[in-house]
Amino acid sequence: MTDNLDPQQQAGLDRRRLLQGAAGGLLAGGALAGAATAYASSSSHSSSDAARSDKDTVDLSRTHPFYDQPHPAGISTPPQRHALFMTFDLVDRATRSDLQVLLARWSAAIAQLAKGRTIGAVQPARAGAVGADTGEAAGLDPAGLTVTVGLGSSIFDKRFGLEHRRPALLEELPDLPSDQIQPSLSGGDLSVQACADDPQVAYHAVRNLARMVRGTAETGWTVMGFGRASAGPGQETPRNLMGFKDGTRNISTPDDYDHFVWVTDDGWMSGGTYQVVRKIQMNLEIWDADDIADQQNIFGRTKSAGAPLTGHREMDTPDFHATGKDGKPAIPGTAHIALAAHENNGGTKILRRAYNYTDGINKYGQLDAGLLMIIYANDPDHFVKIQRRLGASDRLNEYIQHIGSGLWAIPPAPRSGHFIAEDLFI
């Protein structure tokens, strides 16, 4: 009885699949045969292939699997071009069961979206029906979409009977030096990080997740990242809005991921991690008026090559003991890379997955822009320790303010047939 299939839905799926097939250079035979081949081809773009091949090319047909992965997608995944970050707060009357349904519906929807599919009919067959999917991504490629869901410390309370299941290291972040966190950009019961190589795909994902939980959870704060500002393995280090390569020595090896990012031996959290998000506003007009020598001393790197001030190429290891002709350290102790370097932080490294953002023009007529810094670490204190040093003496502080902040636990990737953090409720 396939003739009873919602015709619009079928048409939508066929179109999408043909586009996918075309992108993969495949011949789509009958509609369903085409669907099967196209899907197989999408799956073959695994994240490790992508990692090796990516410099600045974007393959919009790429997909990243959601289920049955050793770790959640969107963390070690090579950073896509765009990000949409949004927080959610459960309404007062939400119950434990509401939270389970929310996480289950989100999980199923993310699995659909990651394959480049809709989450339901865009144009329902019945005239009085409301579309299940809002439709703005219909016909678009998957664009490497990943959606990463985090749980804030505020959900581990009596509302949901989860007070005894709180992840060991999930607490509110302490006040840190130079913090100017705005209450409206702080914390949240849940976090959603959607990353994709097409901004409309990322926006569609978050918009639809928000829509399907209305009445259970409300939107909190959001940041739209328009360009990646951190590199993954094989990617060239991109530049932040200050024009500098930042994060050259980001975590990239499997050993470092195991050592610094993934949580192990912590029950239902094993395989997951912690997510720290900081919205960092930049005073771009003032920065742009600063001379090049000062800018380079502030970062500790050259602007064009991104080389440490003690080297010539970007990948040269900075020498924090070297001195210049004047006898002073070649990389000033208050330079950004000096304060952040693992050599100067007891060996600690954090994974940075940052994006540039803009909010337009502020009330003073200045550019309102900065960095959406998303950090992953198996101990949030790693971030806290480094940020204490940065917040206290980083010369960059003259040009930046941390205005948004939050900490979330990222549960491991769900198995097929299950949902994010399902084990939390057992």
């Binding site: 009885m1 009873n4 349904v101 199923a108 329902p124 019945r126 009445g215 097929s416 047939g417 299950h418």
Partner: protein, 417 residues
């Protein structure tokens, strides 16, 4: 879990002369029970247990497409319990039982990992359809043999029809009251007493806002439907934000502007009050004998909440008097009335949605309680720019939490024919 079949029948048109009753049972909280799906073998009539035929619907993903599998394609007439479990189908979020495109029973919010959910319908002989939107084969037949015995009084359609005629009486009553209140307002304006006119304005406002979505389509007889000159909604309720310079200021908000912004009553104000009285009278005549279909009530209720979102919360409706919360309350009350008249029928069709909408109405009402102040005109505090800045996002999110489930009602009541 107790099953309490409702006394109801649905008149069916083509393939079956039906007697069916429906009750839905929550599946309990997720994870609270082991799966009740038996080994699924598509053979013969469903086994009967606890007085009901037991049918399992299992949703799985076969590697690419999602499938919806029914373990028994038929059942004996009588109570049939459908147990739905989503094992791995991410594209399927709901399952419906239909008869000739009418929704008889359904379960929504299905997702892999959640515990099975059930719904029970009392079915008589005929062919039904199990609809799993998103599945490779979305529509499958389900046949019932024999005749159902037991209660067959009153169809959903009849229940809904009773509701719509009750709603018609409500609308006529509101229009009558509006005429009285507008006459009182006109008298106060004519007397030249600004304070009294302000008070009477606040009292007259809510009536139109309660039924706006039912009466906003009328044009004066013989006038051009594309011009605001004969558009009664414009003439009665235009705002500064939708001013048509060719037609100019009219109606309630022209009077509001004079009273609050200009602080005085002029000959022009008196002319506007008289015109308003005439236009409201015309509206009363044009709306005489209006009848409503169930989906009109559902769409009307959703339309009133849209009004709340687009004009009240933004403070655009009562830009001078800041009486937006009074209009807000009236919009919500109008929507609630429409819902209340649909509720007996809707409960038969989708008890879960009915419960959700009921609960969300309570949330919005409780929020409004925060702003009550009997000493203020209309009984609610002024929606000042300061208050708006602080509270608008919270109010807007709560109204959206009501509007989303409410907007799904029309489809359900429209198909119950």
């Amino acid at each position: 879990m107790s099953l309490s079949p409702r006394r109801s029948t649905v008149a069916c048109t083509v393939t079956l002369a039906a007697g069916l009753a429906l009750t839905a049972c929550g599946g309990g909280s997720p994870n609270d029970s082991s799966s009740t799906t038996a080994g699924a073998t598509a053979s013969g009539a469903a086994p009967v247990s606890q007085g009901a035929s037991q049918v399992n619907i299992t949703l799985t993903n076969d590697g690419d497409a999602d499938t919806c599998e029914i373990d028994h394609p038929s059942a004996k007439a009588g109570a049939v319990t459908f147990t739905v479990i989503n094992k791995s189908a991410t594209a399927i979020t709901e399952v419906e039982l239909q008869s000739n495109q009418r929704i008889i029973g359904e379960k929504e919010n299905l997702a892999p990992g959640l515990a099975p959910v059930k719904f029970t319908a009392t079915l008589t002989g005929g062919t039904y359809q199990v609809y799993c939107p998103g599945a490779k084969q979305a529509m499958q037949d389900f046949s019932v043999t024999g005749q159902a015995t037991g209660p067959t009084a009153g169809s959903v359609q009849a229940v809904l029809a009773k509701g719509t005629s009750g709603y018609g009486v409500y609308v006529a009553g509101v229009i009558g009251d509006m005429g009285t209140a507008v006459t009182t307002l006109k008298k106060a304006v004519d007397s030249g007493n600004v304070a009294d006119a302000k008070a009477k304005y606040a009292l007259a406002r809510p009536f139109y806002e309660k039924i706006e979505s039912d009466v906003d389509g009328f044009v004066l007889p013989g006038s051009d439907p594309t011009s605001n000159k004969g558009n009664l909604d414009y003439l009665i309720d235009m705002r500064g934000s939708n001013l048509d310079p060719e037609v100019g200021w009219h109606g309630f908000h022209a009077i509001e502007r004079d009273l609050w912004k200009n602080g005085k009553i002029t000959a022009g104000t008196k002319k506007q009050a008289a015109a308003l009285q005439t236009d409201v009278k015309t509206l009363g005549k044009l709306s005489e004998g209006l009848t409503y279909k169930p989906e009109d009530l559902a769409n009307g209720a959703a339309g009133l909440l849209e009004e709340v979102q687009t004009t009240k919360i933004k403070g655009e409706e009562e830009a001078f008097s800041h009486l937006d919360l009074v209009d807000f309350e009236a919009n919500v009350e109008g929507a609630q009335q429409a819902f209340a008249f649909l509720k007996p029928g809707l409960t038969e069709i989708d008890p879960t949605l009915t419960k959700t909408v009921t609960a969300q109405f309570k949330v919005v009402e409780r929020l409004l309680d925060k702003y009550r102040d009997p000493s203020k005109p209309g009984g609610l505090v002024a929606w000042t720019p300061e208050l708006r800045q602080a509270d608008a996002p919270m109010l807007s999110k709560s109204v959206q939490g009501l509007q989303d489930p409410l907007s799904r009602m029309a489809e359900k009541v429209a198909t119950a024919q």
